[in-house]
Amino acid sequence: MGNFVTFHANRIVAGAPFTIFESAGTMVAAALLLLLAAIICASLYSGGGKWRDYALGALPPIATALLIYTAGHAARALSLDATPIARVSLGSGFWIPLLLLPVIYFDSIQNNEGLLAPAAAGVLSTVAVAVFFVYGFMDDLSLMKEFANRSDRFFSELSTHLTLSGVAVSLAVLIGAPLGLLAERRERLSGPTFFTLNVLQTIPSLALFSILIPLIAALLALFPTLKEAGVGAIGSTPALIALTIYSILPVARNTYTGLRTVDSAIIEAARGMGMTPLERLLKVELPIASPIILGGVRIALVQAIGLTAVAALIGAGGMGTFIFLGIGQSADDLILLGALPTVLVALIADGAMQGMIKIVKPKGI
């Protein structure tokens, strides 16, 4: 934890690294290090049975909360006798444990039986971290200062980001699911369909955005009424189109695969019972394929949330705004202000979709 936090005299200059002991004080630093040491020992030790499971399930969230608190504490301590324009940003000594702890936690959840202790620890720690942020424990970190300067903008861009990804994926479901169905019903079409979608998927996002701008501009020149309806050559229209294009493939592919996995005997039985093609689709094929189709929506959603960050480049807004602003100003913490919530939102969307798939999945499959 050589570089736990970095102290900058102002927002732009290079900073000086501080260890966790130097910045957070002996007591807090020692507590955190002991906890981390316990987790590392438990994960390396193969015996221990139930106690080891408890340690790996419950300790990582607690350690994560403590780690975040320690960072806020360190920032406060370093800021006490500095000028108001001084900044404290987070270093590798913070980031590495922050990335490793969730890995250990989720691995333990997946491999161990008892879920009560890990879930309780997870919820408690999340609440604690929320309290740290809301009650200002973290305010002296540079990241939070960037947030404080733009809090209104932050929430409006977050909502733009969520809307763009959400609408794009919804459109992709409306287009991709019928496309997957069509490819499954008319096997001859599946080759060309997926070839096209795969090619579209390989176009770099920046390139796709820039191809779309002149295309839409040309379209607007042809149909001026579109312009009056609020369609623009830059901004959300090309962004939405590009994001939708990228999201179609996972939805269409999984719809196709999901429908294909339905056993031919089941199809034959459904036909033999006298189901119409529509009844067969709605009562038999879609329910059986639903977990796989929703899996495609999940992939599309996580991917769209990430890609939406790029859409800021063509003026569509979203969390990418902060990232590109930060790159322009060489302000790392502004970049983080855009990137961290994007990652967090993607993780939450992923978890929510996984939960939903578990709930929607028909019993018996």
Partner: protein, 359 residues
């Protein structure tokens, strides 16, 4: 009644079914049999229009099936296949309810019907209704498949090797059970198999096919007695005589037997016995205990000494056993004459080897 006239199915160059004429009476259990690829499944599936015939006409009770919507036709015809095809996301109850639901029966009627069918196929509704197909054994799944085919009480049942994937013991018990169901329900059944023993055991009429054509269409006994050609003779196998015995029952062939009770004693036995015949020893209720031959009687001090004892449950033959099973029992115990007994072991008569040979 189902009647096929000049029914043909062509796939490109190959003729899967060639101008087939076949007429199945109502209540008849017709088995379609023949070597693999001879067109059995194709024929069956043309009846419910899962496959459309290239030429020819199929009528059900005098009405051309082409005049119905295919779905409407299929809802009136039960269909069961070897791979069962239960819907994995539905409980046993919901699976059986599929066709009644399509036909918009009310819920109470469906529920009642499902319970009735589960009982009919010896599946306890309390145990099986809420199970999912993945929780069933192969035999149980096929019972549910048959129940599902019977759900809307169709007059016609099409079955494509329904018991083909089961182990021999399960298959035989399902065959027996299905025969019992059929005796009760009297459906018109078209049943595909390539197991000649299954055909002999189940069919009231057998249709033998080869290369898309019908070779012989007759009752099992007739096919065994006078096979149409060499192909049929080879198809039914070298043990056709034994297969025939399997179709005949003990009932009409056994005759009255002489018996003696234990307390009647040696003297009475000597008076009653006839040269060349046995005397059956019974208890007061008439349950067979053993047999006495003229030779064992000479020089014996009492009845017990003259008797070779037997267990009527193992060595006795029932009235509705078939002759092949009876013969097997007789060979096993070395009898020229076997006792015919009821369920309680009470002597009803005797069956002689010569009676079987003359059958």
């Amino acid at each position: 009644m189902i009647s096929l006239s000049g029914v043909t199915k062509r796939y490109g160059e190959t003729l899967a079914v060639k101008a087939l004429d076949l007429s199945i009476e109502s209540g008849e259990f017709t088995v379609l049999i023949g070597p693999s690829g001879c067109g059995k499944s194709t024929t069956l599936r043309m009846v419910n229009r899962l496959i459309e015939a290239t030429a020819g006409k199929i009528e059900i009770d005098g009405e051309d099936i082409a005049s119905y919507r295919p779905e409407e036709l299929r809802r009136r015809i039960g269909y069961a296949i070897q791979s069962v095809g239960l819907f994995p996301h539905m409980t046993v109850e919901k699976n059986i309810a599929v066709v009644p639901t399509l036909l918009k029966w009310d819920e109470a009627r469906i529920k009642h019907r499902v319970g009735e069918l589960l009982e009919l196929l010896s599946l306890d509704p309390a145990i099986y209704s809420e199970k999912y197909p993945s929780q069933l054994s192969g035999g149980e799944a096929q019972r549910v498949g048959v129940a599902r085919a019977l759900a809307a009480d169709p007059a016609i049942l099409l079955m494509d090797e329904p018991f083909g994937a089961l182990d021999p013991i399960t298959r035989e018990s399902l065959q027996r059970e299905f025969l019992r169901v059929q005796r009760e329900l009297k459906k018109t059944i078209l049943f595909v198999t390539h197991d000649i023993d299954e055909a002999m055991a189940m069919a009231s009429k057998i249709a033998i096919m080869r290369d898309g054509s019908l070779i012989q269409y007759a009752a099992p006994e007739e096919i065994l007695e006078s096979p149409a050609d060499r192909f049929v003779r080879e198809f039914i196998g070298a043990d056709s005589a034994l297969k025939r015995l399997a179709l005949l029952k003990v009932g009409p062939l056994f005759k009255r037997a002489k018996s003696i009770k234990e307390r009647e004693g040696l003297v009475a036995a000597k008076e009653r016995i006839v040269e060349g015949e046995n005397l059956w020893l019974t208890d007061e209720k008439g349950v067979v205990k053993g047999w006495i031959s003229p030779r064992s009687l000479t020089g014996a001090e009492d009845l017990t000494e003259a008797t070779t004892s037997l267990d009527p449950r193992a060595a006795g033959i029932a009235k509705d056993d078939n002759l092949r099973d009876a013969l097997s029992t007789m060979v096993k115990f070395g009898f020229r004459t076997a006792p015919v007994v009821d369920k309680g072991g009470i002597l009803l008569g005797e069956l002689s080897l010569s009676a079987i040979l003359e059958a």
